[in-house]
């Protein structure tokens, strides 16, 4: 394992210290329990957005704290959900009196820890609502299972619901926007290489030089299938087809197309993937009205990418376009 770290057990706290040092104008970091809040928190009478999850997905979530997006993020150990006290204290620190929305990716651990935090916050009289993102079409959904994982759509929920909150929407309205994004978004990911969890010290899975994994999760969980490496065109087609058929996205739909890098894939490849995606969607009469290309939900140094499509209407598009000012996403401010 070669990484730019000191001791594996210090990775999360030292990265937080680095973030705090780099962005004092945008965020404040609280340690023990660990959470990040926007520098001007709590914002009075604004619905506050709190997200969180395991570390190792940077910039998500801490990099999305700031004006127009999250009010707080609770980073757990690498790939491990944060604990209820982190989430609860972050919730308390950012509550501006208008209630708090918890944005939770659908993993058993995340869901349960956020649930306990919401119970604690409720006990203190803080109004909390939760949105559980579950956009990963690689996982077969069923009433009897843990359901689909929350992946790429989470970033879009954080941005769009964050804009709604910034506009003064009520907690129920912000929740409704968040739900709408989640319901209209679908994702799928793939990996060319594994990643190495620092304290594990060796790759989470073996992926030989002549194989790739389609439908991978963001923690190195296995995917739908292994196959020989294929041209970007075929990989994109495979993923985009699964996504488009699932919602389904139809001719004439306007979408936000999000091509995400997994951490070890450089931008030049992401643009090639985006090019294929744009051609694929054009071929089906689906319009890309907005896009995002870059590494926003990573899996440590995993090479690979994910594609997320969100069906847009005018209100969602306007919220997407609204100013945002965070370490990881910024425009109009």
């Amino acid at each position: 394992m070669k990484k730019l770290i000191n001791k594996p057990e210090d990775v999360v706290v030292e990265a937080l210290q680095g973030m705090a040092a780099a962005h004092p104008d945008l965020i404040k970091v609280h340690y023990d329990p660990n959470y990040i809040v926007r520098a001007d928190a709590p914002v009075k009478n604004k619905v506050a957005l709190v997200s969180g999850g395991g570390s190792g997905h940077e910039p998500m979530h801490g990099g999305f704290v700031g004006m127009g997006m999250l009010d707080a993020a609770a980073p757990g150990a690498v790939f491990t959900s944060p604990t209820p006290d982190q989430i609860f204290e972050a919730t308390r620190a950012v509550d501006g009196g208008a209630g708090v929305l918890h944005i939770v990716k659908n993993y058993t651990g995340d869901v349960m820890n956020f649930e306990m935090a919401a119970e604690l916050a409720g006990g203190e009289g803080i109004a909390v609502q939760s949105i559980i993102t579950n956009d990963d079409v690689a996982v077969k959904d069923s009433l009897y299972t843990a359901g689909r994982r929350g992946v790429g759509v989470t970033v879009l929920v954080e941005k769009i619901a964050g804009a709604a909150a910034e506009r003064g929407y009520s907690l129920d309205q912000v929740l409704a926007v968040a739900n709408k994004v989640n319901e209209n978004g679908r994702s799928m990911g793939m990996a060319l290489t594994s990643c190495t969890v620092p304290h594990a010290g060796k790759p989470t899975f073996d992926l030989p030089e002549d194989e790739m994994e389609i439908g991978i999760g963001i923690h190195g969980e296995s995917g739908r299938k292994r196959m020989k490496p294929a041209p970007a065109r075929e990989i994109v087609e495979m993923m985009a087809l699964a996504i488009v058929d699932d919602l389904p996205f139809k001719t004439g739909d306007e979408t936000l197309a999000f091509v995400n890098g997994m951490g070890g894939t450089p931008l030049i490849e992401l643009y090639i993937v985006y090019n294929e995606l744009a051609k694929f969607l054009q071929g089906r009469g689906i319009k890309i009205a907005r896009n995002l290309v870059g590494s926003y939900i990573t899996s440590l140094e995993m090479a690979g990418c994910s594609i997320t499509l969100l069906k847009l209407d005018d209100p969602l598009q306007a919220l997407w376009d609204a100013p945002v000012r965070t370490p990881g996403l910024r425009w109009g401010a």
Partner: protein
């Protein structure tokens, strides 16, 4: 014949030691069908519990369990943190104020803990989770209690049943937790949480039974 507070403390210390020894094994099990952190998660939690126990060593058993549960909740994260945390917090609720436990007290505590796990995780038996290990253990405890068994007899029977429950997770297809993403491919592997649950009940039998007075 009852279970003393010191025996309870000894049990928790032993469990921490066993988790620490089997760290890599639990991690391996979780790498096969999860995300490879169950060993690290449980070890981080139980090491934190160890540092908290001296602070409640002179309190009642309910306080010991509650402190253990809170510490697990606040240090483990993941799925196992809320689940084991809830288990111990619920055990603490029904043993509040007690300085020793009868077999009936112990069974009541385990039942409350088990119900807490099910309430929190919403898993049913057969979903390939720790529930599949805890449920047969609890059932065994109840029937031992009903037939008037001694504390050691009951605890050993519970450990045996838990072990069988753990082993029975191997052929199952996971329907809850991270392993569920694998679908059919989760069959053939032993559930990591069921394994850490077996260690829990096994160390209870070893330490509580021997020290029961």
């Amino acid at each position: 014949m009852t279970i003393s507070r010191d025996a309870v403390l000894k049990w928790l210390e032993t469990y921490a030691a066993v988790i620490n020894e089997n760290f890599a094994y639990l991690t391996q099990l979780d790498s096969d069908i999860g995300d490879g952190d169950h060993g690290a998660n449980m070890n981080r939690g139980m090491q934190a519990v160890l540092t908290a126990l001296p602070g409640v060593a002179d309190k009642d058993i309910g306080a010991v369990f509650k402190t253990t549960g809170m510490k697990l909740v606040s240090t483990v994260g993941g799925a196992s943190g809320p689940l084991y945390g809830t288990l111990f917090i619920q055990m603490g609720n029904v043993t509040a104020g007690k300085m020793e436990l009868t077999l009936a007290d112990w069974v009541a505590a385990m039942e409350a803990g088990y119900d807490g796990v099910v309430m929190r995780g919403k898993a049913a038996p057969g979903d390939k989770t720790m529930v599949d290990a805890l449920k047969p253990g609890l059932d065994a405890l109840k029937s031992e209690r009903d037939r008037g068994a001694s504390v050691p007899e009951a605890l050993n029977a519970a450990a045996d049943a838990t072990k069988r429950g753990m082993e029975a997770t191997i052929p199952l297809v996971a329907r809850k937790g991270r392993a569920s993403y694998l679908g059919e491919r989760s069959a053939g592997y032993q559930d990591p949480g069921a394994t850490s649950s077996w260690y829990l009940i096994k160390t209870a039998a070893e330490t509580l039974a021997s020290q029961a007075q």
